[in-house]
Symmetry: C2
Subunit: 122 residues, 2 copies
């Protein structure tokens, strides 16, 4: 079935062969600030992270007025560490703590099991 | 379509002391079916899972017309397994594969590092 909305629905990052790593970032945006460059920065970082060795993909969702959950997948911890040290990423996180986020939690986890489901067409 | 803005903003599940486990469920809803009991089932399951020993909390977000990401946290794999075998949960998953979801990915991961941020009031 075709989708005529402006933004295509991205597909979930596929289940890879374990082990690999998931970085779960869950946030509440601050209410007072408006967008304040957030969307542009998110798009820019979403491009930059693709250059990190072992980056497998990223899924993001945000309930309007509610929580945002972003999960980035990496083959190993070295990639996560490289992304953590990335200068533009660090600057964005620092700005985010001052302007964009009311609170957030970060969980770095080693994936041990995974599977996917895709509906059969019929 | 339900209006998620009606619900108060929940707080992200806090960073617990590792190790613990994260179950990441990322989905694309099917377009043809409407709600079809989804919201009610999600609410019901969200209550049931609280009775699972070692359940630490759950964060969920869905971009309208886009991806949904739900992350449930458990102290150990035994809790995840108990939830996986839970009869009402199993029935909902089976129904979901037939009616609610176009596709999904599930990643079960052992959290090794975590931290939280909360904006200082001032």
């Amino acid at each position: 079935m075709s989708d005529h909305r402006m933004a295509p629905v991205s597909l979930p990052v596929a289940a890879h062969e374990p082990p690999y790593y998931a970085v779960v970032f869950t946030s509440v945006r601050s209410e007072a600030e408006g967008d304040d460059g957030y969307d542009r920065a998110a798009e820019r970082l979403g491009e930059l992270v693709k250059d990190i060795p072992g980056f497998l993909g990223e899924d993001a969702a945000r309930t309007p007025g509610g929580l945002g959950v972003t999960v980035a997948y990496f083959r190993d911890l070295a990639g996560i560490e490289e992304w953590r040290r990335h200068q533009e990423h660090r600057a964005a996180k620092e700005y985010g703590r001052e302007h964009w986020y009311e609170r957030y939690s970060l969980h770095i986890a080693r994936v041990e099991h995974s599977h996917g489901f895709e509906r059969a067409r019929g």
